[in-house]
Amino acid sequence: MTNISNLSLLTMILFVMIPVSLSYLFSLGIGKSAIWSSIRGVVQLFLIGYVLTFLFSMPDWQGVGLWVAVMLVIASLQAAKRGKGIPYAFLLSLSSLILIEVFVLSLWILFNIIPFQSEQVIPMSGMIIGNSMVATGLAFERMKNEFHDSKGKILAALSLGANASQASQMIIRKTIRAAMIPNVDSLKTIGLVQLPGMMTGLILGGASPIEAIRYQIVISISIFSSVSICAMIISLVTYRFFFNRKMQLLE
């Protein structure tokens, strides 16, 4: 793999100048934040580069344990932001993300899909946790919106003798479906419309396309199942928070 030299990297300033000058030309008012976010992105990535180098130098179980824990906490905090108003949103996100990470990682190791090495486990786990984080946040939002928008239907279901779980079925189904649809769609067009980031990276790094797609298959399918499990856990646990013990809708 060819290395990008520091000097070459500096030429990226030219690329940043294009949106910045456009901003001044059309008074878009985002020149400052364009510069700022570019600098921030660069610094952040350099730091992560050093952190990863450090992690990869540690024994695998320590590096993996440390960084996976950090990712889990950051992802849970982020997902819980979307679950404002739902009790235990953070703990719920954290436990479902832990569950998914442990589940997926065990299968990968158990079936010899990847070796237990920081270089493999950390980036792959990052993709699982990242996608699950988004799915968790969306599931929270979806549940809140659906319970708000479908209030009348839920009341109707309760009035017909349904318990909280039966009355929530329609919403739970919608939430799980909504989490799965984008994955179904992207699996359908995978490789045709866009080469997934991971595959692109592997190919740039010198792997053969056939090697690269093997990883992509593993990661895409693992993400698909993680995301579905996430939405299922979140919706099945949170629906009860919208009712009291007398099967009455709260709020």
Binding site: K153, A156, S159, L160, G161, Q166, M247
Partner: protein, 231 residues
Amino acid sequence: MKKLIEVDHVSNERVSNVHFSLMEGSLTTIIGPSGAGKSSLLLLLNRLEDPDKGEIHFKGKKISDFPISELRRNIGMVFQQAHLFDGTVEENLKFGPSLRKKWEQNDGVKLLEKVQLSEEFLTKEVENLSGGEQQRVAFARTLANNPEVLLLDEVTSALDMRTVELMEELLHKLVKEEGKTILMITHDLKQAKRLGSYTLFMNEGKVEEQGETASLFQHPKTAALKHFFEG
């Protein structure tokens, strides 16, 4: 006739000190201006909400002493908006009964017949129905549970005159032949006169006046009711 439901000085944020009884096998109407608390009162009888003060009795027992799902089935409710579930008419009709595995093949047709809809409606998606059709499917969906008491919130508001007549016939039949007890909100004063034997007038959360329908309409006592009749 005996008292089937007794509402005993009930209050919450939206109704205050409401007191009345429903006789078994009678049709009682509720009239009153918009925002008077009519719909809010029905929610209490179906236990979708509970009162802060006061008690409601059904067959001499506190409604809170019944298993809640059983009570809700027995005191069925039809909402002001249809609130149909996504899916077909049949899926809506069978919702209540199938929770207890009590749905039979041709129940759907019989229910639709009651509300003057033909068999073809069974397989229609509810989103394609007119407002009046939706209202009748919602009514039939509640009838599917065969409740003893029916709480009806303006169930004929979206119907043409001919269909209103047919629905009123159904209400008569439900009371006279099947012995149902009906509590019905209506904005249509003529309908209240035609249908009810007893009428409650609600205003600002209170039942301001109640009595035999005929005498309530002929001799309103409170200024609020007189004012309401003058429109």
